[in-house]
Amino acid sequence: MTLTTALIAEDEPLLAAGLRADLARLWPELQIVAEAGDGQQALDAAVALKPRVCFLDIRMPGLSGLEVAQALAEDWPEDEPFPLLVFVTAYDQYALQAFEREATDYLLKPVDTARLGACVERLKRQLAQRGSGSTSGDTVKAVDSLRALLGALAPAADASERLEVIQAGAGHQLFMVPVDEVVYFEAADKYLRVITADKEHVIRMSLRELLPRLDGKRFWQVHRGTVVQARCIAGAARDEAGKISLSLRGRPEKLGVSRLYAHLFRAM
């Protein structure tokens, strides 16, 4: 395997071209299989082409670099090696602290040659190590460290901002739904579906905006697009492929739990 494949996700075209050129100089055997200008494109390309390395700009239109990483961790097939991720940012003190703490690979823009060279060496070393081990073990490790990173970056929940009532409009009516009655929230495009035992509402809020305003102990995120009230979970079952699905009290449907949150459902 002399040719390593990589994906560059960067919305500013000059910077994407610049990174490509720098990498061509420092790592000629690296083949850039895709250049994505936004998060969704990056995700689609990564899932389709399965690169070994992904350079993810943090600030991108649509999905951010971190959201792309989260989606990759959740949807990546078991039997393929999970890509090495390198985050790229111009300035984000908060994220940098988390990166340092979790020993995540990152690059600062403007990217200077020396640091890029060091990053390339690190990546080559990691790829060589991985070549020998089992892919599923690597994926588990990668997912674990990504979970730790996302946890470190999650915005702090402010108790004063806690929502007690969801106000959902429908036509000329406004429904006041106590948060306690919500079985689960599900992201749908730019909206959020609010599912209670007998009704379904829609609100204009992103899951990212909602999460810090919920009590993390009562409401669990089980998937990048789903947050469930723990009390309403009847049980969790694992199928032959290892995927966990939740059965709910008062609702017939089952919810899928992604890899990132499977650790929540273990027997005491």
Binding site: L14, L15, G18, Y91, M205, E209
Partner: protein, 396 residues
């Protein structure tokens, strides 16, 4: 028996200085205890020094040590009663009032001191003199005690001296306090300036722009120079923009044009832009970088997050007696108020409103509305239109 001349002219210090609130718990008492004890030390030192000098000056080395002893002991007791009494009384009053700690930096000023001072000085003198008598073997206190006529004299002198010491310590404390305040104010001002500068420069914008510039230098040096020129002009304008000065419209639109040019290099085809104004309005005075927050908002919250990008168009034209500047973008609409990065967008808009208010009062206006066909619900791709109207003359 030594005569009264030995009585160390009551160099009775009344160190009732420095506030120190003694609340119930020992932990809270320590910040007060230490200054309290220090004042005692000062008192003893001053008493010893003054008494010693006076004694040597008046009667040579004869009995100067005894005088010093008297002075120090009497002084210390005066200190104990006055300073300690003041603190004890002030904290008792505070506890009675229900205040947990003495908040005031100089508790016990005012009526407390007026009552404590004479009493403390008087008591301090006699108790101190008595003890000193016991120590030295002389007899100073008793003759005075037995002559009530002398009490007034003692009271007056003791109180005066006590007052002098009190004032001495009080002043020192006040000076230290105002120095600390001045330092804190300077630090706060420096921090504010730094924060303002940071918010104006927006590091993310700066580093991304420099990153683009770096690539451009290798790829297209001529364009790189033009980009650098735009960046320099923009930085100058940002760093020197004061809140109340004015510059001509042509300069303002030039700087905004620079900013848009920089963003266009970064966003490539995702940002189309135009800036238009009629020549006759070129020298209309406007506040520097007034449009900055609006354009930033449009791009940051309207166009950058939109995958396909869009346009931003700025038009300046006359509207009756006022200048109308329109900033129109085709990015994400205002949505439910939550989709367009509410918090810092709001901050930028507030800045614009505040600047207009400061300079023009009610004569300027600022509106923000949904663009396109614009129904109230805010279609997500209809963008925004911001309109600023301002008169020719600012408020004096």
């Amino acid at each position: 028996m030594p005569d009264n001349g030995l009585v160390p002219a009551p160099v009775s210090p009344a160190p009732a200085p420095a506030p120190a609130s003694e609340s119930a718990t020992a932990a809270a008492a320590s910040p007060l205890l230490w200054p309290f004890l220090k004042r005692g030390l000062w008192t003893a030192a001053i008493c010893a020094g003054v008494a010693g000098l006076l004694s040597v000056a008046t009667s040579g080395t004869d009995r100067w040590f005894t005088r010093v002893v008297y002075s120090v002991i009497i002084g210390l007791f005066c200190w104990l009663f006055i300073d300690g009494g003041r603190l004890a009384l002030a904290s008792a009053v505070a506890r009675w009032r229900g205040e947990p700690k003495l908040a005031h930096s100089w508790p016990g000023w005012g009526w407390t001191i007026v009552s404590i001072l004479p009493l403390g000085s008087f008591l301090g003198y006699f108790v101190g003199a008595t003890i000193a008598d016991a120590v030295t073997g002389f007899n100073v206190a008793r003759p005075l005690l037995s002559r009530p006529n002398a009490w007034v004299g003692v009271l007056v002198i003791a109180t005066l001296l006590g007052g002098a010491f009190t004032y001495f310590f009080y002043s020192r404390e006040k000076i230290a306090e105002s120095k600390a305040q001045a330092q804190a104010a300077r630090r706060a001002a420096a921090e504010n300036q730094l924060r303002l500068l940071q918010s104006q420069l927006e590091p993310h914008m700066l580093f991304n722009t420099l990153a683009n510039l770096r690539v451009l230098i290798g790829v297209d040096p001529v364009r790189a120079q033009a980009m650098l020129d735009a960046l320099i002009a923009f930085l100058r304008a940002t760093l020197s923009a004061s809140r109340t000065s004015l510059h001509p419209l042509s300069a303002e639109l030039g700087r905004i044009g620079d900013y848009l040019g920089l963003m266009a290099v970064r966003m490539g085809a995702r940002l189309q832009h135009s800036v238009q104004w009629s020549e006759e309005l070129a020298d209309w005075p406007v506040p520097p970088l007034l449009l900055q927050p609006l354009v930033e908002n449009s791009i940051k919250h309207g166009l950058e997050p939109k995958v396909a990008g869009g346009r931003i168009d700025i038009v300046a034209r006359r509207d009756g007696e006022r200048l109308l500047i329109e900033v129109r973008d085709t990015g994400l609409g205002l949505g439910g108020g939550l989709t367009r990065g509410a918090a810092d967008a709001g901050f930028g808009l507030e800045q614009v409103r505040e600047r207009l208010r400061t300079l023009y009062g009610e004569r300027a206006s600022f509106t923000l509305e949904v663009g396109g066909a614009g129904d109230g619900a805010g279609d997500d791709d209809s963008g925004c239109i911001a309109r600023i109207r301002l008169p020719r003359e600012a408020n004096k």
